[in-house]
């Protein structure tokens, strides 16, 4: 497990990352969200040891992380960067070796990863002859080439088309099945689709963290009701519920005293019902609420 303890970074008087405690658990994908400037990249750079914390610590399996531990992590920085005038495969082998993998292992792994991304034909091309999307695929391959023990990916999906995102997601699910994986993103629906855990950052502080399921259930219990052709406006008069929205025969309501079984009974007595379901709070709402 990768975790931080009161991790702090300040530049002069400005505190960019303020006593962050977070955990990235193995076998779970942790989404790292927050507005621009919330401190996500700064936190990730401190996780990777590229930036020294002003105070606080990074722990790996309970111990302060060392250079040898970090060397086995996989990292995709926010500012992408590879050698533009170096051949793709050669470059991946080089990074593999820097991460402690033998040349032959690195070659095998790199070839496999490039194959996954449909870049098998481009292994001997110079990096800067590849499209930006393909360069990004090579970048993720560079983070994976040494079979990392943890993955820290800063905006790994930005700039990719939906198919490329799917392909990368497949690969990550495959490669990082039992690793701690932290990734930051602004694409909330993607985070919602992928993540098991969530850390929400605002102005350098963690404002919400935990499993996505728990977070989305937090607050009022919300239900969606769809009646068969009847106007759902009468639900406003039911005691013990707050109707959030009514749109024809569909209503969205929060329980406020009434329990779910009573709600179901009340509705069925009065109108024909097509659907009564628990509404998961969309991540965008969680996010907005958290950073408010």
């Amino acid at each position: 497990m990768l975790e931080t303890h009161a991790l702090t970074r300040s530049y002069g008087d400005t505190v960019v990352v303020d006593h962050i405690d977070m955990q990235v658990r193995p076998g779970r994908i942790t989404g790292f969200v927050g507005a621009n400037g919330a401190g996500k990249t700064t936190t990730m750079r401190m996780l990777m040891g590229v930036l020294a914390p002003s105070s606080g610590s990074v722990l790996w399996n309970g111990e302060p992380v060392g250079a040898a531990d970090r060397r086995r992590f996989g990292y995709m920085p926010e500012e992408r960067g590879l050698y533009p005038r170096m051949k793709v495969l050669e470059q991946l082998i080089y990074f593999g070796r820097l991460h402690g993998v033998s040349t032959s292992d690195a070659r095998e792994r790199a070839t496999k990863l490039l194959h996954h991304f449909g870049l098998a034909e481009r292994t001997d091309d110079l990096l800067d002859t590849l499209s930006l999307g393909n360069q990004q695929r090579v970048q993720i391959a560079a983070a994976l080439v040494h079979r990392p023990t943890a993955l820290v990916l800063d905006e790994p999906f930005s700039g990719l088309d939906p198919l490329a995102v799917d392909s990368m997601v497949d690969l990550l699910r495959d490669e990082a099945a039992d690793l701690p994986l932290l990734f930051s993103s602004h694409q909330l629906e993607l985070v919602e689709r992928l993540c098991d855990d969530l850390v929400i950052l605002a102005e350098g502080r963690v404002v919400a963290a935990g499993p996505v399921d728990e977070l989305s259930r937090r607050g009022a219990e919300r239900y969606r009701v769809e009646l068969d052709g009847e106007d759902a406006a009468w639900l406003r008069d039911v005691r013990g519920v707050n109707v959030v929205d009514v749109d024809g025969s569909v209503a969205l309501l929060d329980l406020d005293g009434l329990d779910a079984a009573d709600l179901a009974r009340t509705i069925v007595e009065r109108s024909p019902v097509i659907e009564l379901s628990r509404a998961r709070q969309p991540l965008s709402d969680i996010f907005r609420e958290a950073i408010r």
Binding site: Y11, G12, R45, M48, G49, V50, L51, A52, S54, G66, A67, A68, R70, R71, F73, Y75, M76, P77, E79, R80, G81, L82, Y83, P84, M86, Y94, F95, R97, L98, H99, G100, A142, A143
Partner: protein, 406 residues
């Protein structure tokens, strides 16, 4: 900005110790496939070999001086003088060309068909040249005329010439026999300086550029995450030092082969030891400067910034270059013991003549100390600045520790 200091300290125990070798390997393999590098190496080799061959050819050529004479007496003097000329300067010979009269002799000289003319004059003989007279020719002719006429006069006056000349013999004895062959030594010294300047500057700029490229392409971010920054620095210094030394060795070897091939294998014995020292000084000087070049690269955010950030390095190379060409003996002796400057100046002095051993030792010692200091300071500055992007960073900032943590 500093990286986790534990990264550098625990180097040896955490398995990141040999990483600099991988970095060095990439520096080398990238460079040897680089067309500009291959071409510049070839140009350097060709120019050194060409200089040696051409100067050899120049000194071999034209050694037979044509001397125009107007009578058999003149011809006899020239024929006698040729041995003397050969003894003054090996390879020089004089050939007499008899013409009708003084006018014709002068015409031969002015048209360049003869190097000089020996014509009778009121007081004896006159050596006529066009705009200058070759010293060896003039010396040989004058001495021969003098002794011939002296002999003649002595016989006419019935004087025992041998008794008259007794005790006038003057011999030469050199305290520093190695200082002979000044021309050859000057040439070797010139080539040393030239090759050092070209190679050190070329590879210095290469180091700076490769650092800046890594900053510019941001690849440095994943490098820094995988490798302690010092290992990156060592790798760069090691890789480029190996290449630079290989290039110098290649150049020195080519120069030696060229000397043997042009029939000057004997001369090699004279400048050979200086060549050996040259390689040693080169390694020391190059390593001392290498960290400076890395810092220059790390101060720059873009390739354009390199022009200004590499200025100190360029000056450190250019100053001794100028000194080597212009300075007097005393200045040279002092500066040849200064660190870094010595790498260029000391081999030059050694090529030009004998140098006391203690001065060589001082030069080596100061350079080693300077190398250790510069690499240490350089490594710290490199760590502080490598991950900072945006503007060009000033040396003062890079060398001030507190900047790193702000």
């Amino acid at each position: 900005m500093t990286t986790d200091s534990s990264a550098a300290e625990t180097n040896s125990t955490d398995g990141t110790g040999g990483l600099w070798r991988i970095v060095a390997e990439r520096e080398i393999s990238t460079r040897v496939r680089d067309k500009t590098f291959i071409i510049s190496t070839l140009v350097l080799l060709v120019s050194v070999v060409a200089t040696i061959v051409i100067t050899g050819w120049m000194s071999d050529r034209d050694h037979d001086r044509q001397v125009a004479v107007v009578d058999p007496a003149g011809r006899a003097i020239v024929e006698k003088a040729t041995d003397l000329a050969a003894s003054i300067d090996e390879g020089t010979s004089l050939t007499a060309r008899t013409v009708e009269n003084v006018k014709a002799a002068e015409k031969m000289v002015s048209s360049g068909k003869a190097d000089a003319a020996l014509v009778p004059s009121d007081g004896g003989y006159q050596v006529v040249g066009d705009d200058e007279i070759d010293e060896v020719t003039s010396q040989a002719l004058s001495a021969t005329v003098a002794s011939a006429v002296l002999n003649q006069n002595a016989r006419a006056m019935d004087v025992d010439l041998e008794r008259l000349q007794a005790g006038t013999a003057v011999d030469e004895r050199l305290l520093d026999p190695a200082a002979k062959d000044a021309g050859l030594r000057k040439l070797a010294a010139f080539l040393f300086v030239l090759v050092f300047y070209v190679t050190a500057l070329g590879f210095g700029m290469t180091i700076a550029q490769s650092v800046t490229q890594e900053k510019e392409s941001r690849v440095v971010e994943i490098l820094a995450a995988a490798v302690p920054i010092r290992a990156l620095l060592w790798g760069k210094i090691a890789g480029n030092t190996v290449l630079a030394v290989a290039q110098v060795l290649l150049t020195v070897a080519a120069g030696a082969i060229a000397m043997v091939a042009t029939g000057r294998g004997d001369d090699l014995r004279i400048v050979g030891p200086a060549m050996g020292w040259y390689v040693i000084f080169f390694v020391l000087g190059f390593v001392a400067l290498a960290s400076l070049w890395s810092v220059a690269g790390s101060l720059a955010s873009r390739q354009q910034d390199l022009q200004s950030t590499t200025m100190p390095g360029q000056i450190l190379l250019f100053a001794p270059y100028i000194l080597a060409v212009t300075a007097g003996e005393g200045v040279k002796t002092v500066v040849s013991m200064l660190p870094v400057v010595s790498t260029m100046m000391m081999p030059v002095r050694m090529a030009e003549g004998a140098v006391p051993a203690w001065q060589v030792a001082v030069a080596i010692l100061t350079t080693v100390v300077a190398a250790v200091l510069m690499v240490r300071v350089g490594a710290a500055a490199y760590e502080r600045t490598l991950l900072r992007t945006g503007d060009r960073i000033r040396y003062r900032e890079a060398l001030t520790p507190r900047v790193g943590t702000s």
